[in-house]
Symmetry: D2
Subunit: 327 residues, 4 copies
C-alpha cells in the first residue's frame, strides 16, 4: 500500500495513526521538487481497510496493489473433496504410508486408519526421489491398490503425480491430486493437472515465498482445478538439527489473513517421530485445516522415509490427542 500525504500534512502525525492501525512503514519517500511525503506500507503489516487509511488527517490518497492472483484470493477457506470439507469445522487427517508397497500393505493400513477419524488415505505410487538409484514407486498398479483399499474403508485418496503422462490415471483414481514440493513451479504439470478439473493439494517448494505459492495455486485454478488446498511440508533452513523447518508463521498468515485451507505435513517437516505430536498440535493451533502423517506397519521395512513413519499404536495416540485438542 502507498500512502501519499498532502503537502501540508505532518508526517509524524500520520505515522502515528498508521502505527495505531498496526501498519509498518517500509520506506519513507519524498517527491522530487516540491513533492510531498509518501509512505510505502510493509507487506507484512496487518490487514486494514484502505478506506480507513484514506480518512486519516493529512492523507491525500491511498493506493493498493493490483491483485496478482485473483482466483485463489477469492477461493475461500473450504475446499470440498467428495463431500468432505477441507477447512471445515473439524481438522482433516490424511494418513498412510510414504510409498504404496503392495496391495496387502495398503489394505492393512487403510483398515487400521479408517476407524481413527482419518478421511484421506495417502500414499505414493510415483515417488520423487533425490537419487535415481532409489525406489521410484510401483506406479499404476499402486494407484489401483490404493483406490480399492480406500473405497473398501470409506476413505478418500490423495496421491502425488510427477509426470504429465500420469495425470489422467491419477485424476481418475484419486480424489485429491497432490503436487509435490519439487514440482510446485513445474508449470507444465500445473497446467495439465488444472485441466483435470479436480481439487489439488499443492505442496510448497523448499524456498517458495508465499507469493510464489499463491501464483502456483493461481495456475491450477486458471487452468481448471476445482479447488486448491495448500500444504506446508517444511522449508529449507540452515540448521542441521532439524531436517526441514516447518513454517507455521506462513500457515497462520494463510489461514487467518488469506483465509485459505492449509494442511501441514509434520512427517516430512521434521523427519522425526517424536516431534510429530507437538508439531501437529501446533499446526492446528496456528490455523491449519488438517495434518498429513505417514504411518507404516513396519517402519524398518518401508521402501522410503521409514524413520519418520509412525507405527500403528503411535498414530492412534497422536490422532486421539489431536481430536481431543480440537474439541
Amino acid at each position: 500500500m502507498i500512502v501519499s500525504l498532502r503537502v501540508d500534512a505532518d508526517p509524524q502525525a500520520v505515522k502515528r495513526e498508521l502505527t495505531a492501525l498496526g501498519l509498518w512503514i517500509a520506506s519513507v519517500e519524498r517527491g522530487l521538487g516540491s513533492g510531498g511525503v509518501q509512505f510505502v506500507v510493509a507487506p507484512h503489516s496487518t490487514g486494514v481497510d484502505p478506506a480507513q487509511v484514506a480518512q486519516i488527517e493529512g492523507v491525500g490518497s491511498v493506493s493498493v496493489p493490483v491483485p496478482e492472483h485473483p482466483q485463489i484470493d477469492q477461493q475461500g477457506p473450504q475446499v470440498m473433496v467428495k463431500g468432505h470439507a477441507i477447512g471445515g469445522p473439524r481438522p482433516t487427517f490424511m494418513c498412510g504410508p510414504c510409498s504404496v508397497e503392495s496391495s496387502e500393505q495398503i489394505e492393512s493400513i487403510a483398515a487400521r486408519v479408517a476407524p481413527l477419524g482419518v478421511t484421506f488415505l495417502r500414499g505414493g505410487a510415483f515417488k520423487p526421489r533425490s537419487s535415481p538409484y532409489n525406489f521410484q514407486g510401483h506406479g499404476d498398479p499402486a494407484l489401483t491398490w490404493m483406490r480399492e483399499a480406500a473405497t473398501r474403508h470409506g476413505l478418500r485418496v490423495v496421491t502425488e503425480v510427477l509426470s504429465e503422462h500420469d495425470v489422467s490415471a491419477v485424476a481418475e483414481l484419486a480424489d485429491l491430486i497432490q503436487i509435490g514440493s519439487r514440482n510446485m513451479q513445474n508449470f507444465a504439470l500445473l497446467k495439465r493437472v488444472g485441466r483435470a478439473h479436480k481439487p489439488v493439494l499443492l505442496k510448497r517448494a523448499m524456498s517458495a515465498t508465499i507469493e510464489d505459492w499463491l501464483l502456483a495455486a493461481e495456475y491450477l485454478l486458471h487452468h481448471g482445478a476445482s479447488g486448491v488446498v495448500l500444504c506446508e511440508r517444511g522449508i529449507r533452513g540452515f540448521d542441521p538439527s532439524t531436517r526441514n523447518l516447518v513454517d507455521l508463521t506462513a500457515v497462520a498468515l494463510l489461514a487467518h489473513v488469506h483465509r485459505l485451507p492449509v494442511i501441514v505435513d509434520p512427517s516430512h517437516g521434521t523427519g522425526r517421530r517424536d516431534l510429530i505430536l507437538p508439531l501437529s498440535k501446533a499446526a492446528l493451533a496456528a490455523g491449519a485445516a488438517g495434518v498429513m502423517i505417514e504411518t507404516h506397519d513396519d517402519p524398518g521395512k518401508a521402501l522410503s522415509d521409514g524413520p519418520q513413519a509412525l507405527r500403528g499404536d503411535e498414530l492412534q495416540a497422536v490422532l486421539t490427542q489431536l481430536t481431543e485438542a480440537a474439541r
Copy 2:
C-alpha cells in the same frame, strides 16, 4: 552417532533396524582396505538409547558425540525466578511495552496486566535499534520506573541489557536478565552477565543454529548464571510477507528432546497483531514454556515497535484464550 558394522554384517539388515528405531543414515562410509561399513546417523534423528543400537545384530560398535555444552544439557526444563517456575505446569506470560517510556506509562501497564495472569513485566530501558537516529531507551531511570511498578503489582521484571557497563544496574533491578538476539554471541556481555549469578533469558540470534544457541547458554552457565531460559523470537527468512519466521520446530525440539524451557515472542516474530493469538497458541502447543507479548496503551504513540503492540483489550482477549487452551 557412528554405527560401525562388523565385517560380516548385512548392511541392509542393520539399516532396517536403525530405520525401525527412527534413525536416519546421513552417510554410508566404507573403510579403506578391507574395512567394514560405518553409518553416520543424522543429528536430526530421534532420540534413541545408543546401548540399544549396539545390540542390533551385525553392529560392532557405536560411538556417540562428546558433549559440547554439558551444563546446559543438564540444566533441566525448569528455571526458578523469584519463586516462579518457568517451565512449570502453567505457561508463563511476560507482557509490557517495547520501551519503558515514563513512570506513568509503565505503572499503568503493570496495573493492567497483573490481573490477567501475567507474572513478568517486560519493557526496554536500553533499546537495540538498527539505526543510530532512533530512540535508544531512557536507560537507568526507566529501570527504576519498571522495578517500582512491578513491585507494586506483584510482578517480576525481565529487561534487556546491552552494555557491559549496565550489567550491574540491570542485575540489581531485574529478576530475569534478557540478552537480545543481536547480542547472543556477544561473548564479552555473556561473560559479564554470567558473573551476575542471576537467571537469564537468552534470545536466539537471527540465524543461530540450535548448537550456537546452546553454546551461548553454556557461556552464561559457565560464568555463573543461575539458569538460562531460551527465547525464540523469529529467525531470518526469505519471505517479505512475514517480518521474521517463528521457528516452532526448534521450540519443539528444545522442549521435547533437549528438555529446556523456551519462551516464544510472537510480537517480534510476526510483527503483526492479528497473528499473535494463533502463533501464541501454536507456541504453547509445540511445547513452549510461555510467551512474551508486547502491549501498549496507545500503540500509535509508542516510541518503538508500535504496530505490533496489542492494546489492553486485545491482550486480555489473547491471554484469556491462552489460559483456557492451556487448561
Copy 3:
C-alpha cells in the same frame, strides 16, 4: 570421512595432524564402553587422500563415503557440444534474449552476437513464468526461428524445455538442452531429457544443496544424457537489495574440487545490468567455464526480463573485457 583412532592414541596429536592437512573435525565421538575416539570430518574440508590420513600416527582406520552419484563424479571438466568444449581453455559465452519474440528479433541478435566470440545463442521458446497471466513463450515456431538464426551465424543453440511433451522437439533443434531452476528436481522431465542422449545445461534450483544438484545431474546421465553442464543462476537469499544471490563459493567448489563445468548466469543472478560485468569477471575468476548473458535490441520492448537485458553496445563492452581478462 570417519577417522577412527587406536585406543592408545593421543586424540590431540591426531587432531593436529588432521588440521595440518586442512581437515575440520565436525564431531568428536567416543565409543560406548571402552571404545576409542572417532572423528567425523566435515564435508566442507579440503580434498585429501584418505590413504595419507590412514598413515597418521594413532589412526586405526579411515572410512570414506560411498559415492552417491558415480557418473557425474567421473564425467570430468569438459563437455563437448557440437565440436565446442565447454570447460575448455577459453570461456564459453551464451548470449541472446530472454524470450525468442520473432524470427526477425532472433536473427538480428544472432547476427550481432556472433562476431563477439559468442558460441551459443540462448533464448526461450517455452518460458517458465511465476504468473499464469504472463507471456509463456511462442513455443515450437520460436524453436525453428532460433535454430535457423543460429545456423546462419555459426552459433549453437541452448534453450529450455519445460514439458515432457516438448522434449523431442527441443532435442531435435537445440544443441544443448536447458533444464530451468524450477525443474531441477522435476524427475519425470530429467528422465525424459536424459533419454534424448544430448548434452544438458542443468540450472540449480533456488535452494538446492550441491548434493541435490549433483544427484539431479546423475539422473540425467543415468538416463542417457551425453554430458551435463551445471549452471548457477543465483540462489534464494534474504536480502531484498539483490534479486538473487550468485553463489560463487559453490562455483569454485564445483570447478576446483569436483572438476565439473559450471556456467554462471549473472543476468538472472543479479537482475541488474550494472553488476553483470563485475559478476561475470568474478565468475570466471572463481573457475566458471563461461557465462550466460541476456541481451535485447530494445530492452523496453522485451516480453520478459527486460530490465536485466544488456543492449548491444553494453554486451559488446562486457564481452570485450571478459575476453581480455581471460587471456
Copy 4:
C-alpha cells in the same frame, strides 16, 4: 522509488520506458476511487537518475527514499589508514594468524608476509569463540606483541575488539579496529568504538541485510569513527558443502553502486585452503578493495582455525597470483 502516473497515462508505455532504463516494477498499485496507477520500483533495480524518470511521458511525479544512513552514503570508496588508501588503485592484503599465539610467532609471520606486498598484519588478541571451553586469546600482551612486530616490519595492525573495556587498549595499538561478525549489531560496542575516532573494519553479521550493515556503519560514523571499511566473511547458507557462503553479489553492489570499500575474507568464508585463491581472485574481480587471508607457520599447531590457514609457501603463491591479476 515510487513512480506516480498521470491519470491519463498509458501504464504499459510507462512500464516500457522504466524497463528500458533497467528498472523492475516491484508492485503495481492503483489509487482508491478515481486515483491513477503507481509503480513501486524494486530496491534491487539499477541506479538511475530520478529526474530522468520524472521526464518519461505519462509520469506525474517521482518520489525517492529518504536517506537512512547519510554519513556512510557520503563516505566514498577510499578510507585512509596511516597513509595507506584502502580502496585505492591497488588491492590491500591483510594477512596473519587467526590468533596471536606468542611474540615469536607473530614476529616470524610479520617478517614473512611483509615482503609479499601485505600492508596489514592481522591477528586476534581477543577471540570470539562459539564455545566457552575454547582458547579465548592472549589479550593485552598479544596486542603488544603484534604492534611491535608490525612496526618492525612496516606493517599496519588490524585486530578485533570484543569488549567495551578493551576499546581504548585496542585503539591505542591498532591502526584499524575490527568489529567481528557476531558483534555487528552490538550497538554498545559500536558506540564505544566510534568514540575512539579511528578507522574501523566492520564485518558483516551472518544474516545481515545490506541495509542492516550500512546502518551499523552509520552508528560508527555517527559516534566518531574516522572511516568504515566493510568486510564480507561469508553469510549463513543452507549447504553443508561449504562452511559459509561468500556473498560476492553484495560485494559488487557495495563496490560499484554504493561505492564503498569492501574487504573479503575467504579464509572464514570458505574454511578451506584450496578455495582461497579462486575466491580471492573472484573477490577482486567483483570489486573488492582487498582480501584478508589467514596464514600460520604450522597450521597443525594453530590455537584456532588451523585448517583454513595457509602455510607460508601457499600464501606467497596466492599473493603472487593476485598481484599479477590485479595489474
